[in-house]
Amino acid sequence: MSNLEDLYREIILDHYRNPRNRGELVTPPAHKAEGFNPLCGDEITVYLQVENDTLVDIKIAGHGCSISQSSASLMTAAVKGKPLETVRGTIDTFKQLMTVHETSLDTEVEPEPVNLRALGELAALQGVVKFPVRIKCATLAWNTLTQGLNDLS
């Protein structure tokens, strides 16, 4: 049986209660991307300010459960001020963390270990994969960020 403590780590609850980088940016110059989870009604808006291939600022608006909100908050803390190449690398690593479960089910081959150290605080979200229906909550902000970056490039 999966433990709730695996899902609701203290760091996740902290980011849910005290979300970082919450708010809006003026568009333009900032760009905004919207994401929806049609199953549960969660909505998220990611505001991006990109200058010289660097994500100089990011803000999150919208509403959702503790997993979607804390994942968004942790994401902003991880990518703010970083070069776009690093941002994309972090997105890839995070998505890999979220797909470990499915990959191992499909192939029975041990998946490539995810570099948890590279993820820093984001590693707190690894418990989500034990609750498959919540993976969509955790990835909502990240998919919306990806969409925003794709819009810009």
Binding site: L4, Y8, L13, C40, G41, S66, F131, R134
Partner: protein, 392 residues
Amino acid sequence: MHERPIVYLDTAATALTPRIVIESMQRYYETYHSNVHRAVYVTAAEATEAYEEARIAIGRFIGAPHPADELIFTHGTTESFNLLAKSWGRANLTSSDVVVLTEMEHHANLVPWFQLRDEIGFEIRFIKVTDDFRLDLSNLNELLRGAKLLSVTGMSNVLGTINPIAELAAAAHAAGALIAVDGAQSVAHGVTNVAGLDIDFLAFGAHKMLGPTGIGALWVRRSILDSMPPFLGGGGMIADVSLNGFSAAAGIAKYEAGTPPIAEAIGFHTAAHYLESLGMEDIAAYEHQLTDSLLEQFATRFPERIRVIGPTTMEMRGGVVSFDVEGVHPHDVAQVLDQFGVCVRPGHHCAKPLMKRFSLAATARASFGPYSDESDIETLMTALDDAVRLFG
């Protein structure tokens, strides 16, 4: 998966299936599995008889005066509304017409009308919902002026509100409109009598009334059927087909193209019979008592924390209870409850306009069936204590 027994409080999504229902379907598959309305051999005749008996029994269950000729089997409530919109609606509505719906409808009674409006261009008006979770009938006659149809839920799948259908039917008819009722929730939890209510259409599904998934029905007042062309095309719904075209079958058959859900019709019949043997009035009274108990426990054990999104008194109210735990998102509530084996539904319950009306993205929802009991409520309360403790 779970170390604890399941505490099922999600009957409004789908009801648990009694063994007798499963066995009746199994018996069909094992002993007289044949297609209906086609062959002359014995088991085919038995299957046809069982299918048509199901139609009559389910028609009687809702008080249909002519059950053999008025009850169309569909794949569920959603398809029933699509049939209503695409058959009756397309043939009877024009761009100058009006359809009246309400703010508390399930998407199944909204989207088919939006689709048809986008095609034809009629006007859709909405009966508002008051702050105390009832239909605002103060301007009903004004809304119904010039309307051809009022389509309304018998019982909200979010609020638990039971609507005054007989009163609405009288008002609709006085204004020259027909009335369709979404019985998805109401049919399973109390007595339904289409003749007594004087309604024109009733859409409902088997799986919310202890039956199988994949089957439902649209009951249509017999005199209206003449104005309803066929819905889906294919086998079973025709009188004749040539390379030049087709002519539709007479009667109810023209709305049932293709092989129908036969085993499911048999299971549906068994479920209706089982409910009748329990007694719909007794089921209503029992669930009334459980709902009253749940509302009281919310009020006494979580007075500052839990807000019920729906009526807090039992007048015109069914056993569907949406609630908001302050500071805890419904998904997280449901996740913690799952650890206790408690099944509730988080989300917008396919009623996004209603959610917006109350500035909510989602609620958690507990709902009762005839198999629910007080111990389910007790486990729910224990689990909610834990959710509140975890999220502070």
